[in-house]
């Protein structure tokens, strides 16, 4: 059912997308500077008339504005009734496609009648415009930092040793320098590539690698203190890591990040956030498996605390048990919540996505793949980047509790042969073991496993039998074995061949297939003032996330409209049905069925946990007395495609008209008027 209706929506969107103005005229044929994005926004807001406005959210350290374009039917309303969707482009400022994606959304909204009928759209094309300039500057370098001066190398000067375009090609690439202390070697099978020497195999490094530049401040280091700054994309408070030169002093220390946090927390109507950048939650859900997650059903108490509450320090307790335990010790009437307990015990924040949310992410990812297939965009490409600690994507997921998605519009296509190589391999390698499931590992032939263990010089007591027993018993996992052996020196590589960085391999394949496109600079000799004879070359900055401009239009056309499908999947609260039953003596039972017609839950599982999203509220307004239930009933959650029953016992001496009012911050609302009493 659900799938059918989603597919129907896809085809509708396809029609919308292909109709109208020819795409070339719209200007999705080149990358835009922040100033050009701003000009484009001004055109769009003019086009939007009464349905669009442009607001400046923040001033960057580089003196640029972070713009927010609002499109909707309620733009002048102080309090919005329609749910809102926030689109944020390019938090790390190093994905030139991202702002274009956001502009594309705005343009589709304004050109397609009715597309913004049910939602307000907040669109921030560039959250990090300072960093975006690096793509357009001469020379071009990739750097996600804004323009805040930071003394990266903690010396006597700030921003004094940046990159230098030595060969004058307008690009900052790499320098390779013959050096007896180097740890790199040139790859045999492709001299364009470098790899780390493997001393375990008796190899000696021959080169040092540097980014292109001079030691401007004469301290022996190259390019260690360029202009800037803070990477806005890691300046948010979920898993923020302090004391990184590029992370900012604290979460929200960058004005761009602070403005976004203030905006999102100040707009409870936001029902979904979509990021355009390096991550892609539409294809790959937020990563789990991080250690340190707290299991709230198995909490251990420190000895002194346990003693205080008469508990057993060797036992584990559930959160509920602990709340009951503590209640007995606090004054009457004092409330104890989960967060009181969690903070008292220092349990810390959640660090893994909740399984109930992952189900939705996975299902939607499947549907998205089908959608891409229909668009002819299902070519296999390199994986998107995982969300970084301190990223806004993780902040919204963990602390805001509304559905958050992200898209990266392009990564390099996976080269064709790679797949073949993986198949048909018979010898056991460390890499293969690392990827094995427990079952696969246990199914290995002892002989084969022993041969491998011998080859990697595992201690003799670790024979196949012993290792399998440990995996069976859970003391070891195949992944752990691979890690241990990796630390010992790696073991045999795939067929003894040189490992190629998959990204470089993909890059070279793509560059070879697109001769007019500059993705790779061949190594060219250069006489460096300090380092002597060096070679300059390597990957062109942004070559792995920024395709030839001729591809922009089709990439956006094929992927951007998915955001409208997601918008249609959001929670939608309605009053499904009401019923009044007289109980006699002027007493009536009122029953109301609330439904969430949307596919997604209200709020997410994490939203239920973090309680950031305000509850929906059912008000019963009329001249009646409440025998059971109240005139104000908060509803904290409603699963997707589900119905919840609420009931009241009312007393009305005279016939009364009662209004049932359902309101929610970001999932719509409803209203019914019913009669109580009268004829009966």
């Amino acid at each position: 059912m659900e799938r059918l209706s989603l597919l129907r929506r896809f085809s509708l969107l396809l029609v919308l997308a292909l109709g109208g103005v020819a795409w070339g005229q719209r200007g999705y044929d080149r990358y835009l500077t922040p100033a050009e994005v701003e000009a484009r926004l001004e055109r769009l807001v003019a086009q939007g008339g009464d349905h669009a406005r442009l607001v400046s959210l923040a001033l960057t350290p580089g003196g640029r504005k972070v713009w927010l374009l609002e499109i909707g039917k309620e733009i002048s309303a102080a309090r919005k009734h329609l749910p809102a969707i926030l689109v944020v482009g390019d938090p790390e400022g190093d994905v030139p496609l991202a702002p274009l994606g956001a502009l594309y959304v705005a343009q589709q909204l304004l050109e397609t009648p009715g597309l913004f009928a049910r939602h307000t759209w907040y669109i921030i094309p560039s959250l990090n415009p300072d960093a975006e300039m690096h793509f357009f500057n001469k020379p071009r370098c990739r750097d996600p930092r804004n323009a805040r001066p930071v003394n990266d190398d903690l010396d006597e000067a700030t921003d004094e040793d940046g990159y230098d375009d030595l060969n004058g090609d307008g690009l900052i690439t790499m320098m390779r320098v013959p050096d007896p202390q180097g740890s790199w070697v040139v790859m045999k099978k492709d001299a364009r590539l470098m790899r780390k020497a493997n001393p375990v195999k008796g190899e000696k490094g021959e080169y040092k690698l540097y980014t292109e530049g001079l030691d401007n401040d004469g301290d022996g280091q190259y390019n260690e203190d360029g202009p800037g700054g803070t990477n806005v994309g890691i300046n948010f408070p979920h898993l923020f890591r302090p004391h990184r030169p590029d992370g900012g002093l604290w979460p929200g220390s960058a004005p761009e990040a602070f403005a976004l946090m203030k905006f999102v927390t100040g707009h409870p109507e936001i029902a979904m956030v979509m990021f355009y950048g390096s991550t892609d939650f539409c294809r790959v859900p937020p990563k789990g498996g991080r250690k340190g997650a707290v299991d709230l059903n198995r909490i251990k108490l420190p000895k002194d605390v346990a003693k205080q509450f008469g508990a057993d320090p060797d036992k584990t307790y559930t959160m509920k048990e602990l709340i009951e335990m503590v209640k007995a010790f606090v004054p009457a009437g004092m409330e104890i919540t989960e967060s009181d307990i969690a903070s008292f015990l220092g349990l810390g924040a959640m660090v893994n996505p909740l399984p109930d949310d992952l189900k939705y992410y996975r299902e939607l990812a499947e549907k998205y793949k089908e959608y891409l297939k229909e668009q002819g965009m299902d070519q296999e490409r390199l994986d998107p980047a995982p969300a970084k600690d301190g990223s806004p994507e993780l902040w919204v997921y963990y602390q805001i509790g509304v559905p958050v998605f992200s898209m990266n519009f392009w990564t390099l296509p996976k080269p064709q042969e790679e797949k073949k190589e993986e198949e048909g391999k018979d010898t056991l390698t460390t890499q293969r073991i690392g990827k094995m499931s427990k079952e696969d590992f246990l199914a290995l032939e002892d002989e084969k496993l022993n041969a491998y263990l011998k080859a990697v010089k595992a201690p003799p007591q670790f024979d196949a039998k012993k290792v399998k027993a440990m995996v069976q018993g859970g003391q070891l996992t195949p992944k752990k074995i691979a890690e241990m052996i990796g630390k010992m020196g790696g073991g045999p590589d795939e067929k003894g061949e040189e490992k190629v960085d998959p990204k470089m391999k993909a890059l070279l394949a793509f560059a070879d297939a697109h001769p007019g496109w500059q993705g790779y600079i061949p190594w060219q000799p250069y006489e460096h003032p300090d380092l002597g004879k060096v070679e300059i070359g390597g990957m062109v900055p942004y070559a792995d996330n920024t395709p030839p401009a001729t591809m922009i239009d089709s990439l956006l056309r094929g992927q951007v409209p998915w955001v409208f499908t997601l918008a249609d999947s959001l929670a939608q609260l309605h009053i499904e049905k009401t019923k009044v039953e007289p109980r006699g003596g002027g007493v009536y039972q009122l029953t109301v069925w609330l439904s969430n017609d949307g596919y997604l839950p209200f709020p997410t599982a994490m939203g239920k946990k973090n309680q950031h999203v305000p509850p929906a509220v059912v008000q019963v307004i009329g001249n009646v007395a409440f025998l059971e239930g109240r005139d104000w009933t908060p509803v904290n959650s409603l699963a997707g495609k589900s119905v919840k029953k609420l009931s009241w016992l009312l007393h009305a001496d005279k016939p009364a008209s009662v209004e049932i009012l359902l309101t929610s911050p970001n999932a719509g609302g409803d209203k019914r008027t019913i009669k109580i009493g009268g004829a009966s």
Binding site: N151, P242, L249, P251, S339
Partner: protein, 576 residues
């Protein structure tokens, strides 16, 4: 009796507004928010050459947050002296912290030029004093009915009970006496009975005993009709959980605020601190319990052992200055907190930071000298023992003239029917009776001054000058520090908070051939810096020194310039 109490409450709640403030300030009463600001302005007017008055920002309810800087501009620039930052009253109800700050300012200014120790401190240091951080909190604590615990947070709307309504169920001053006290109801099934020796007091019934009272919590009604009483008052955003270091969201810790620095005052103070990087000592005053706390605030955070030695020296001396106060570690001896102020100042500002928890109830005594060493420890979570409460009631009656405890009086409650209202009033328990205030503020200010006196005092001296070749000189420079606090904290060094102290060598006819750390002045073992020997980076430890050795070529005058973010700058000329 009730009427008498109201009249008596007058002097406790602030100086008569018609009576002008005078310098020296008086500390026999508490200052309202407006009076604190007036007192700061008065000090500034009286001592314009030693003070600066800065408006840091405005609160959620648009009240002004003021800072008073005290230093002597004739002895150097503000940023060139070790900075001591002192604030108070970040929790709105913890008012005597504000008086400590005012007293410190008053003491420094009125004794400058008259007292040798104080004159030296004002000349050598700079003091940044913010008496009231939570200005709305202080205002409402005086103006509204409160318990001694309420009105702690910021006036930022927050739906504490997650019902979709905001701040809709404050406590209610049912009897209109300006206090939120306790409610109790006669109940044969109650968990409490009247204490036989003092009828105002109740004790828990033992197993099988008959009860007499049920405690109904703080004075109030169910304003929002949700069956709960007083569950959604102001905020709750705790201003001491809203700072940008190791912050955790509200589901991890109630009161964190939506994001770090969402509170106006927090943002304003952080920005002030970034503009005053010379701050090396921080004191934040709170009440109560009689503690001098240091970080870290959670088990996971770490303070280097070398910094702990500095803390121990300062903290253990603080214990001696304020009798009965204990020097403790926040997370270990109290509880874990995320995003608190002093974790921010330790880890981002790079200061040595203390929280002063002012006042010990143990000081409320009524006992004969022969009763000897009774245990004076207050338990933090389990309430206090009955015998001590009986004694405190006697203290209330005969020493505090009945100003602390409100006798139980009947009241007709809309939900509970006939009840009684009474108990400890807002100006009790956490706040000393004003007759004890002067002692409290003086001792706390003395603890601050002890640490101010231990801020780094770096001296640069010539340790040796030797000709070792034609026009080639070996010059040794010593940077020594007689005080306990190093020129930068070990946290700052380890976490690379900011560039280390710097020594630069310059002479018009001299080149620096080599330079580096002299590790042993006897063997001459030196760790030379590979590049740019004319610029050296270093830290000067507390009660110790750092030596440098240079090989200089040339002749004539050489200038050694030491510059530190927190320990000022020094200059030395040597002639080759």
């Amino acid at each position: 009796m009730g009427l008498i109490l109201l009249v008596m409450a007058g002097p406790l709640q602030g100086q008569d507004e018609t009576q002008p403030l005078t310098v020296p300030l008086r500390f026999d009463h508490y200052y309202t928010y407006e009076q604190v600001v007036e007192a700061m302005k008065l000090l500034h007017r009286t001592y314009p050459s030693l003070t600066q008055l800065n408006l840091l920002g405005k609160s959620e309810e648009d009240r002004e947050i003021w800072e008073l800087t005290i230093h002597n501009p004739e002895t150097g620039d503000i940023l060139d002296k070790p900075g001591v930052y002192v604030d108070g009253n970040i929790h709105g109800n913890e008012i005597q912290a504000g008086e400590v700050c005012l007293y410190l300012a008053d003491l420094l200014l009125t004794h400058y030029g008259r007292n040798e120790r104080i004159t030296r401190l004002v000349d050598r240091n700079v003091f940044y004093i913010v008496p009231v951080v939570n200005v709305d909190g202080r205002y409402h604590f005086f103006a509204d009915a409160n318990t001694m615990h309420s009105n702690r947070g910021l006036r930022r709307p927050k739906d504490d009970d997650h019902d979709g309504r905001i701040n809709e169920d404050f406590p209610d001053d049912l009897d209109g006496d300006g206090n939120i006290c306790m409610m109790r109801k006669r109940d044969p099934n109650g968990k409490y009975r009247t204490d036989p020796s003092d009828p105002r007091l109740m004790v828990r019934v033992g197993p099988g005993e008959k009860g007499e009272w049920t405690l109904l919590g703080y004075e109030g009604i169910d304003n929002d009709g949700d069956g709960r009483i007083n569950e959604d008052a102001e905020g709750y955003v705790d201003p001491n959980r809203n700072w940008g270091y190791n912050w955790a969201p509200p589901y991890v810790q109630r009161g964190s605020g939506d994001y770090p620095f969402s509170g106006n005052a927090m943002r304003a103070i952080a920005s002030f601190m970034m503009d005053h990087p010379n701050i090396i000592v921080v004191w934040a005053f709170h009440n109560y319990g009689g503690m001098i706390l240091r970080g870290p605030s959670t088990k996971q955070e770490h303070i280097p052992q070398a910094d702990i030695r500095v803390y121990d020296y300062l903290g253990k001396n603080g214990e001696k200055i304020i009798p009965g106060y204990r020097y403790l570690i926040s997370w270990k001896d109290l509880y874990s907190t995320y995003g608190d102020f002093t974790d921010f100042t330790d880890n981002i500002v790079g200061s040595y930071s203390f929280v002063g928890e002012l006042y010990r109830i143990a000081q409320e005594t009524y006992r004969s000298p022969s009763s000897g060493g009774k245990k004076e420890e207050e338990t933090l979570f389990g309430g206090e023992d009955v015998e001590r409460t009986r004694e405190r009631l006697k203290f209330n009656d005969y020493v505090a003239m009945g100003m602390l405890f409100k006798p139980w009086k009947p009241y007709h409650h809309p939900v509970y029917g006939d009840i009684e209202i009474g108990g400890w009033m807002k100006m009790s328990t956490r706040i000393p009776h004003p007759f004890m205030l002067e002692d409290l503020v003086h001792r706390a200010a003395s603890a601050v001054l002890f640490t101010a006196d231990q801020t780094p005092e770096v001296k640069m001296t010539l340790l040796g000058k030797k000709k070792i070749g034609k026009d080639l000189w070996q010059v040794r420079v010593r940077l020594s520090n007689e005080k306990a606090i190093p020129s930068m904290s070990y946290i700052s060094v380890n976490e690379k908070l900011y560039p280390k102290d710097m020594v630069t060598v310059k002479g018009p006819r001299v080149t620096v051939v080599a330079g580096g750390r002299l590790l042993d002045e006897y063997t001459g073992r030196t760790l030379y810096k590979e590049k740019k020997p004319e610029i050296q980076f270093l830290q000067v430890p507390g009660f110790g020194h750092t030596d440098l050795q240079f090989l200089l070529k040339g002749k004539g005058e050489v200038t050694f310039l030491y510059r530190s973010r927190k320990a000022g700058s020094r200059r030395m000329k040597v002639v080759l």
